[in-house]
């Protein structure tokens, strides 16, 4: 897509403006505050529906509808219209967008298919590069740079997917750990039933077979919930289970009391103190606390952002990806809080498991007490159980519910003073009121309970296996995605790295001929290092000058933008990007833009007149595509001076019989043109301490340098015996002499006409030959093919050739040595 015409009505500092670049490059130049950036804003608004400087960080309360229009106008009066040429469409298309309806771009419906991809790409805003943005690629640290480049390449979704996979992998890991703990808990219940510390398979089989022997049952050789109770009849099972068995109660009480042991209390207190320390760290650090308290909200929020960039809570319209980027940055900042959060959760879970184990043991004792109708004892145990359960809920949500407790209370809660006496008293009652259990009763009851325990272990193992498989899938998914991402992004970065190096060398071949760069992804980071005069590779910020850094940013942006926009958007806006670049390197930038990006359309803004002039002289900007902005006022916006073609303007003056204007224009134009010639040919001008050179200084110095060069290249061509070149030079000399004679004779006409105001003596017939002669003279210094000014090309300080940019005119300045 190229811009043919742009009309801006009441946008930012502009009241009414029409530019007609006709698909070619254009430059807008003028002092700060003259309204240049408003043009950039207007183009951005047209393509994206937003103005980036009115959104994002630090722009709270600044809205497009309020501050997008010119201050004296309403949103409905603020409109940008453009005529664009779209690749693949024969006729130009008119686009129109009003601040009244920023989300709606108006265009002919039949163009939908072609405009869709343009808008999708343009919405991301990569077609605008400002100096502020250059710094993002060069100055930022690797993680941030990666983010910026990912944004430019529209790969933010990629990061969002990666984060999802990380979340799923982490959650799956947590769940697998919980399932693993559940196996341990179930196994511990089986150990309690058997009254042993550890129950491995052999030990369990031995214990099971002891009970089976009591019941005269065949031994078993594997631990399975069904097999260990094989051959026990259901009626026998029912009868035995209903009986109160003091021996089993004793075992259960012993297990419970063991859980309340002092060792367990000390262990619990230790973990609890560690948990308190971690919680204190978060509470003392206000920022960390804030980050943490918002972490979950941010993680939730980032997944809820509307596709068009709207905030899901307040429905504020953000530019696509802006809000996501901002939230993701805060999520990264909350990473430290997240690590603490994980540690706290682990400790809390550890404590909870200890309490839950205690609850489980209470639950094994209570049924026997119920059968014995010991309601008073049950009531005390139930209350204790309830308080344990409540404390578990508290500790499992440590951030929301936790209140600092005295560690003594924590110990007391696990082992209240009255519990041991209470259960011992209950046991005594049970023993007193019930007959001693037979060994058969104990065997059946133990095997049946063990069978239930093993069933629970089997289920826990099954659950664990499922969770483990999901965890492995989640981590493989992340690993495979990361590998694919690295491979493909590395391919992409290698391409960009090569192009960046190529572009940078165009600008700095004279002093950094062997320059190399490395753009390499490292997880979520993107490392960018550049060669420093063969002394190693360093971050761009480390050793290179500000000007070099700016050109690096420009080259990296151009390499990225080229890769991204391809044949879809040809318009690239460079908003004041060469501030720190010296004149010599700016000339190279001209070469870069015109030779490496001939198909792109550059809209360049600058406050520097010299750069604007240089762009024209170097053929980047056509003569009629330079706009000077000045004397901005609220009422009128900028005063715009459009530089149309000099000869066209003179012709208009002559048509109106306005000789003084035509003469003045010719004098000013010639002065500017020959200033450029002097610059291009490195002509010597008489020194003036006031720096005020005039028309004749430039004209004479430029012409003299040209003649001298022709003489020199002819001698050199002679030294090589290059007859073809000698003839070409002779032809140029002959043409020049003819034109120069005409010009020299008539030159007098220009000065007196302006200075002495004797224009009344001139007729159009008198003045036209003057104009024609100078016009022909200009053409001597311009290549007819590429329309660029002829210039001296140097290697370092040594001139090596004289010619034009396209190479149609190219005379060597390297003499054949006597040896060769």
């Amino acid at each position: 897509m190229k811009l043919l015409q742009l009309t801006i009505q009441n946008i930012r500092g502009i009241k009414e403006l029409k530019l007609e670049p006709n698909g070619q490059n254009l430059v807008i130049w003028g002092p700060n505050g003259s309204g240049k950036s408003a043009v950039v804003d207007a183009v951005e608004f047209l393509l994206t529906g937003g103005i980036s400087r009115l959104s994002g960080q630090g722009t709270s309360g600044i809205t497009l509808k309020r501050f997008g229009p010119h201050i004296d106008h309403k949103p409905k009066e603020s409109v940008v219209t453009a005529l664009v040429q779209i690749h693949g469409l024969e006729k130009p298309v008119e686009l129109r967008r009003s601040i009244q309806q920023p989300g709606k771009l108006e265009y002919p419906p039949e163009c939908e298919e072609c405009i869709g991809p343009i808008l999708k790409l343009a919405t991301k805003g990569q077609q605008v590069l400002s100096r502020r943005e250059i710094l993002k690629y060069i100055h930022s640290e690797s993680g941030r740079r990666s983010e910026e480049i990912m944004t430019l390449l529209n790969l933010i979704d990629l990061e969002s997917i990666r984060r999802t996979f990380v979340t799923v992998a982490n959650k799956s890991k947590e769940e697998t750990e919980a399932k693993k703990n559940a196996i341990e808990v179930a196994e511990e219940a089986a150990c309690n039933t058997l009254g042993v510390e550890i129950c491995d398979e052999t030990k369990t089989i031995n214990e099971v077979n002891k009970f089976r022997k009591v019941l005269a049952l065949e031994p078993v050789y594997e631990v399975s919930s069904n097999i260990i109770v094989e051959d026990i009849s259901p009626s026998e099972e029912k009868a035995k289970v209903e009986k109160i068995n003091p021996d089993i109660l004793r075992k259960d009480i012993d297990s419970l009391l063991k859980c309340l042991s002092q060792d367990n209390q000390i262990g619990l207190e230790k973990v609890y103190n560690e948990l308190c320390d971690l919680l204190e760290q978060i509470r003392k650090d206000e920022e960390l606390n804030r980050e943490f308290s918002l972490h979950q909200l941010l993680e939730l929020g980032v997944n809820l952002i509307e596709e068009d960039g709207r905030c899901p809570l307040c429905l504020t319209q953000w530019r696509p990806n802006e809000l996501r980027k901002s939230i993701e940055k805060r999520i990264t900042q909350a990473e430290r809080a997240k690590i603490l959060h994980t540690q706290i959760k682990e400790k809390a879970m550890d404590i909870s498991i200890k309490y839950k184990n205690c609850i489980r043991l209470v639950d094994t004792v209570v049924p026997t007490l119920q059968k014995a109708k010991l309601s008073k004892h049950i009531e005390v145990l139930s209350k204790w159980r309830q308080s344990l359960l409540e404390w578990c809920k508290t500790i499992e949500a440590p951030f929301e519910k936790y209140q600092a407790e005295d560690p003594e209370k924590i110990r007391t809660l696990l082992a209240p003073n009255n519990i041991e006496a209470l259960v011992e008293e209950a046991f005594e009652i049970v023993v007193r009121d019930n007959p001693k259990a037979t060994s058969q009763d104990t065997a059946v009851q133990t095997l049946i309970r063990l069978s239930e325990n093993i069933k629970a272990v089997e289920k826990a193992i099954e659950d664990f296996k499922k969770a483990d498989l999901i965890q492995r899938r989640a981590s493989i998914l992340l690993e495979v995605f990361d590998n694919a991402r690295s491979e493909i992004l590395d391919e992409l970065y290698n391409t960009i790295e090569a192009r960046f190096t190529e572009l940078y060398k165009v600008l700095h071949s004279s002093d950094e001929e062997n320059f190399v760069a490395e753009l390499k992804s490292d997880g979520a980071k993107l490392n960018f290092e550049v060669d420093f005069y063969g002394r190693g590779r360093f971050p761009p910020l480390a050793l290179h000058s500000e000007g070099h850094q700016d050109t690096m940013g420009l080259c990296l942006y151009l390499a990225l933008a080229e890769y991204l926009t391809g044949d879809i958007i040809h318009l690239i806006i460079l908003d004041d990007v060469v501030m720190s670049v010296d004149a010599g390197h700016r000339r190279h930038i001209c070469t870069l833009l015109s030779t490496m990006f001939p198909d792109k359309q550059f809209l360049i803004t600058t406050h520097d007149k010299t750069w604007a002039t240089q762009l024209q002289r170097e053929g980047v900007i056509p003569n009629n595509a330079s706009y000077e902005f000045s004397r901005w006022s609220l009422a009128t916006g900028p005063l715009v001076y459009a530089e149309t073609d000099l000869w066209q303007k003179i012709a208009i003056d002559l048509d109106k019989n306005d000789i003084p204007s035509a003469a003045s224009r010719l004098r000013r134009g010639t002065e500017q043109f020959f200033e450029g010639v002097c610059d291009a040919l490195e002509a010597s001008i008489p020194y003036r301490s006031d720096g005020r050179w005039e028309f004749s200084h430039f004209l004479n110095a430029g012409v003299s340098a040209y003649k001298k060069l022709l003489k020199e290249v002819k001698n050199i061509a002679n030294s090589w015996g290059n007859k073809q070149e000698i003839e070409a030079i002779q032809e140029r000399e002959s043409i020049f002499d003819q034109i120069w004679r005409r010009t020299n004779i008539e030159q007098w006409a220009v000065n007196p006409n302006v200075h002495y105001n004797n224009w009344v003596n001139f007729t159009i017939e008198d003045f036209r030959p003057v104009v024609d002669a100078f016009r022909d003279l200009f053409e001597v210094f311009i290549c007819q093919k590429c329309r660029c000014m002829l210039k001296l090309a140097s290697h370092g300080v040594i001139p090596v050739s004289f010619g034009c940019k396209c190479g149609a005119i190219n005379f060597t300045l390297q003499r054949k040595s006597s040896k060769s």
Binding site: P117, K120, L121, K124, L153, N154, L155, D157, L158, S160, I161, R163, T164, F165, T167, V168, K171, S172, N303, L469, I470, R472, R473, A474, I476, L477, V480, F481, N483, A484, R485, E487, I488, L489, L492, Y563, L564, G566, I568
Partner: protein, 55 residues
Amino acid sequence: MEEKSILQKIVDRTFSELKGRPEFNAKVIEALQQVANDGELNKPEVVKRAITRED
């Protein structure tokens, strides 16, 4: 080259690699493909559900 092709390339290469892994049966791959087609690979609960699919 534009956004989707880079992202799509990465997603395609991921799926191609997953197909060779014994942990991923056809149903899980199919479910994940569906999630990708629906543009929901950035939703943890949806991805989790897909990888929880059994044969």
